[in-house]
């Protein structure tokens, strides 16, 4: 086997639409469902700790952008601070929970608007770890020498699922924690990375040491989904014959029926969230045991979860097992930029990359737990200095 090359994140970008929306104005922005204030909002907001976020919506819940626009704006910022021309980009990978159109893939729309290529494209679809899937694919293409400059974009426009009209369209609406939880959790935004087969000439780059993605979908039921009004119908333990006929939004006679039946609400099974943390911890312990990461060598820990999700016995046990990453190493901008699904990890790394706090030789460890159906992504980065010999 020929020796594999390296891949480096050499430039980053973020785009967040509109002004930051604080907790007081969030419901005004998304709209009062049937004119009434939410009873669960306060409780959910205090548990996620988010203070401000962005939505691509105007005050009447009309979209101000397409998802594609968010992706392109982040990509532009990333390219503007890079050392390469548009025409050198040979791969465009775009990740999102939901593109603008059911087809074609979001990468096609983003490429068209960026006006780059001809080049290879990749669209990944999933939930929070979709961006890491796109990143890993680009990383490997660079490592095998097939590509030199890959643009990887993660973009989310969750507000389309969260505006009041989505809830009002449901017949006999009964809003419970499962169907409302994500309304106060998710928001819009995009992040972009440029991956190159060599570090920047000037300034720092992030060498990707490895990316591991581990899915446990065969072990757990749906935890976060959109497209069914009953997540339990998708249980791994349910016999095919026990399932209702109308169980995917596409199986209804009309899309209007699907919406009226609540199949298009975004849902979170809160009971399973603790298991998401456990599965994440299990993967982390595996990586330590495999020698891929040593908790004591981590200088910056970027996790799509906030530290307050790790509590109780699991925290004690991690501490005891020497696998706890001290609070001061955690980096997050979740509280001010919001939870932007698969874009969150890119948006956090973008801020860290530009913070001036990264020094050559440092280790950055990233974790993206995806609750959708238990797919967790892990990545180790090493900060490297510019090829000109200066660190900055």
């Amino acid at each position: 086997m020929t020796e594999l090359g390296q891949a480096y994140i050499t430039s980053t970008g973020t785009f967040l639409p509109g002004q930051p929306v604080d907790n007081e104005s969030i419901e005004q922005k998304l709209g009062y469902v049937h004119g009434k204030p939410s009873k669960l909002k306060k409780r959910i907001l205090s548990s996620n700790g988010i203070l401000t976020r962005h939505y691509a919506l105007d005050d009447k819940q009309r979209s101000t952008h397409q998802n594609r626009d968010l992706a392109v704006a982040a990509a532009r910022e990333c390219l503007n601070t890079s050392e390469v021309d548009d025409k050198s980009i040979d791969l465009l990978a775009v990740a999102s929970t939901q593109g603008d159109l059911p087809l074609p893939g979001l990468a096609s729309l983003v490429q068209a608007q960026l006006a780059i290529g001809p080049l290879e494209i990749l669209t990944t679809h999933g939930v929070c770890s979709a961006s890491m899937m796109a990143l890993k694919s680009a990383f490997n293409q660079l490592r095998v020498g097939e590509k030199k400059n890959a643009l990887v974009v993660a973009s989310e426009m969750a507000s389309r699922l969260l505006k009041k009209s989505r809830y009002e369209a449901v017949n006999n609406l009964r809003i419970d924690l499962e169907s409302e939880f994500l309304r106060w959790m998710l928001s819009d935004g995009a992040g972009a990375f440029l991956l190159q087969d060599k570090p920047r000439w000037r300034g720092i780059s992030l060498r990707i040491d490895w990316i591991e993605i581990i899915s446990f979908a065969s072990h757990y039921d749906l935890c976060m989904s959109c497209g069914t009004n009953d997540q339990s119908l998708w249980s791994k333990d349910l016999d095919q014959t026990e399932r209702n006929i109308d169980f995917s939004w596409q199986d209804y006679a009309s899309y209007a029926d699907a919406e009226a039946n609540g199949a298009l609400l975004i849902r979170q099974n809160l009971k399973l969230l603790e298991d998401v943390v456990k599965v994440g911890v299990d993967g982390f312990l595996k990586l330590i045991n495999d020698g891929k990461i040593n908790p004591s060598e981590i200088d910056h820990f970027v996790c799509h979860y906030s530290s307050h999700h790790f509590k109780g016995r699991i925290l004690d046990l991690l501490k005891l097992a020497g696998a706890l990453i001290p609070e001061e190493k955690w980096f997050t901008n979740l509280y001010t930029k919001g939870n932007t699904g698969c874009a969150s990890i890119f948006i956090a790394l973008d801020e860290l990359f530009k913070s001036g706090n990264l020094k050559p030789g440092q280790t950055v460890f990233c974790v993206v737990p995806e609750s959708g159906r238990f797919a967790n992504a892990y990545m180790r980065l090493t900060v490297v200095g510019g090829r000109d010999g200066g660190a900055f």
């Binding site: 446990f216 072990h219 298991d275 456990k278 299990d282 312990l285 595996k286 016995r313 004690d316 005891l320």
Partner: protein, 232 residues
């Protein structure tokens, strides 16, 4: 949640490594527990009084066997391991009459004493008890710390939540779940002793692999015991 002592905050690197391996065995075990039909029903709150009866009937033989292998293990330690022997003996004293709690729980839900006392080992319990007794008979069976990690872990991490769920499903009080409640409250102390032992240099260095392997076997056989309820 019990605060961890200073000593445990600073386990040696080898003990930490062993604990990380044990934690992964535990997390895998916990995942598989969720697929056990009776526990799944408990989780989904479709657990019935009959389920609880069956649970108690199947637990008793294991609990009886448990006190036997622990006592046997204690007697298999030579003088150089007298600390462990004392610890295990104390543990055996703590738990060797546990089955009376089970019996009382069974009676409190309308069961009859003779029935539970006659309950036979299911084929999973046979396998688990046979394996543990065999290991306990070997000289200085330090590997059984792995067994304790799983079995005490069940008490420590699961018993309380099971007790609460059972009370909720069956509308019964904590007086009918004394066995599970006791373990939920007391196994934390047992776990702490176990961590101390893991950190003992003579143990941690020489027996780490065996401890982890034993934890895996016990986890697998414990699942088998739960899968084979009433298969006697």
């Amino acid at each position: 949640m019990v605060a961890l002592s200073e000593k445990e905050m600073t386990l040696g690197p080898k003990a930490q490594e062993t604990l990380r391996h044990l934690l992964r065995v535990w997390l895998d075990f916990e995942r598989k527990l969720q697929s056990i039909p009776i526990l799944r029903r408990l989780d989904q709150r479709t657990f019935t009084p009959e389920d609880y009866r069956v649970l108690l009937l199947n637990m008793r033989p294991q609990v009886i066997e448990g006190s036997r292998w622990i006592s046997r293990a204690a007697s298999s330690f030579t003088a150089e391991y007298s600390d462990i022997r004392s610890m295990i003996l104390r543990h055996a004293v703590d738990e060797h009459r546990d089955y009376t709690m089970l019996e009382n729980d069974f009676l409190s839900i309308g069961g009859n004493l003779e029935e539970i006392q006659k309950a036979k080992r299911n084929i999973g319990t046979e396998a688990l008890a046979g394996y543990l007794m065999n290991e306990a008979t070997k000289p200085n069976p330090i590997n059984l710390l792995g067994a304790m990690f799983i079995i005490e872990g069940l008490g420590n991490k699961m018993a309380s939540s099971w007790a609460c769920a059972i009370q909720e499903c069956l509308s019964i009080s904590d007086k009918s779940t004394t066995f599970l409640s006791y373990h939920g409250e007391n196994d934390e102390t047992h776990m702490q002793k176990l961590y101390d032992l893991l950190d003992d240099k003579s143990i941690a260095h020489d027996a780490a692999d065996d401890i982890v392997k034993t934890a895996k076997v016990v986890a697998r056989l414990y699942l088998l015991q739960l899968e084979e309820f009433d298969n006697t």
